[in-house]
């Protein structure tokens, strides 16, 4: 009787899971189901506990330091603060100028809300799992919220189960980010290459691109605001069809993440790109 029950149960479970997988493929809205949220809530405390314990152990090690090493660090930090203050002053000037120009042409940029910090409790950026689990204190993370660090783009929230959230890394093969070459403003789509790197797709061969070009978000996908660094062009290949074959080195070192920032969701829909920057469709048509 028990064995028979098991046979039926396995059939039911497999069919149910197949159906669940099948509906997630065409429609991402099915991701982050109640079941996924429940398991995230159950697994989250274990991951958070491990993160806290390892951070405490690492903290004990780093707190035992000599006065001379602290003095050296203090001096280096003072230099860094001075440099950052100079940069801030410059940026304030640029921001003021941009604001004046925007007012003159009646342009309203998407409102950038406050950043919220979140602790990384689990990160797997090497294996094919490629995921990040966050512990978000206070308000819950929102689905599709952009996740960044000062170096650049990390990914977006795909499942939120307060106080935990699961993030799809930008290096995930299923991730796609509207991006552009900063120098030329040429747009394409950045995707995970499968080996932990990134590739820039749909950049036509006639578009100039060089090794070392910075790639930033274009803001056309409605998830990531414009101008967040994604990475730097590492190689440019001829490609098979109409487009370059471009590899990008990610701006973020995913192995060193211990906390990240959640950007407020975009309040206004992104402005459509000017016609001359529009990316051609894969068949070459505009």
């Amino acid at each position: 009787m028990r064995d028979r029950l098991a046979h039926w149960l396995v059939v039911l479970l497999l069919l149910g899971q197949l159906a669940g997988l099948a509906i997630q493929v065409p429609d991402e809205a099915w991701r982050g189901s109640l079941l996924e949220q429940a398991t995230l809530r159950a697994v989250g405390p274990v991951l958070h506990g491990v993160a806290t314990v390892t951070a405490t152990i690492a903290g004990v090690g780093s707190s035992v330091r000599t006065v001379s090493s602290l003095e050296r660090e203090n001096a280096a930090l003072k230099v860094r603060v001075e440099l950052l203050e100079q940069r801030l002053l410059k940026l304030q000037g640029v921001a003021g100028e941009a604001e004046r120009l925007a007012r003159a042409v009646g342009y309203e940029s998407p409102a950038g809300g406050p950043l919220r910090v979140a602790d990384v409790v689990y990160v797997d950026h090497v294996s094919w799992l490629r995921t990040l689990v966050l512990w978000v204190d206070g308000h819950a993370a929102i689905r599709d919220q952009a996740v960044v660090v000062p170096e650049g783009l990390v990914g977006r929230v795909v499942t939120s189960a307060p106080p935990y959230a699961k993030v799809q890394l930008v290096t995930d093969r299923a991730a796609a980010v509207g991006a552009m070459i900063e120098r030329t403003r040429r747009q394409g789509i950045v995707r995970g290459s499968g080996d932990g790197g990134l590739e820039l797709a749909f950049l036509p061969k006639q578009a100039p691109v060089a090794v070392g070009d910075r790639v930033v978000t274009s803001g056309v996908d409605g998830v990531y605001p414009r101008g967040i660094p994604i990475g730097v062009v590492r190689t440019v290949g001829p490609g098979d069809g109409l487009f370059h074959d471009i590899e990008i080195a990610p701006a973020v070192d995913f192995g060193t993440l211990d906390h990240v920032y959640l950007l407020a969701p975009l309040a206004t829909p992104p402005t459509p790109p000017p016609a001359e920057f529009a990316t051609p469709a894969p068949d070459g048509s505009h």
Partner: protein, 171 residues
């Protein structure tokens, strides 16, 4: 009691995997402790427990993984069920059959995941062969080590129980 034991083993597997990921970022590519817990549970020879155990552990694994939710759930349900059916019909409580079961379970899980990826994704990401073989080997070796440890522990427990029983009879 069996459920509690399973839960503790699953939590321990998740915690150790989380620590391993911090120490060696490539560890999850070749180390799957959650699968070992599934196989250990299924070796008891109860298809119902094996199926449910595999399903629960698979979903836990999916929570820690990117991609579609349910890929590992599906794979581990199949592994849990088949291992428990095999354990019910054959003698696998010896080291040699056990090591084979661990290796085949790891290979089967990867085969199911790859098949699902091929079926579901337009551009599936196929894993390189070397890490897969390494995962199978590590699962077999680690599984065997834990199997021997558990057998030793159970024998000691039985010895302790029988000696306790004889002491009680004497008194």
């Amino acid at each position: 009691m069996a459920f509690l034991k399973y839960l503790v083993a699953l939590i321990a597997a998740v915690a150790v995997e989380a620590v391993a990921t911090r120490l060696a970022p490539g560890a999850p590519r070749v180390l799957d402790l959650v699968l070992l817990v599934v196989v250990f549970n299924a070796l008891e020879g109860d298809p119902l427990g094996g199926t449910l155990g595999g399903f629960a552990a698979g979903l836990v694994h999916d929570t820690m993984a990117g991609g579609l939710f349910g890929l590992h759930g599906f794979a581990n349900t199949v592994v849990g069920y088949l291992v428990s059916v095999v354990a019910q019909r054959f003698m696998v409580q010896q080291p040699l059959p056990a090591v084979l079961v661990f290796a085949i379970a790891a290979a089967l899980q990867e085969a199911i995941l790859t098949t699902l990826a091929l079926v579901l994704f337009a551009e599936p990401e196929i894993q390189p062969l070397v890490p897969l073989l390494l995962k199978v080997a590590i699962s077999a070796v680690l599984g065997l080590s834990l199997f021997l440890l558990r057998r030793r522990f159970r024998r000691q427990q039985e010895r302790w129980r029988s000696s306790r029983g004889s002491r009680l009879r004497l008194s």
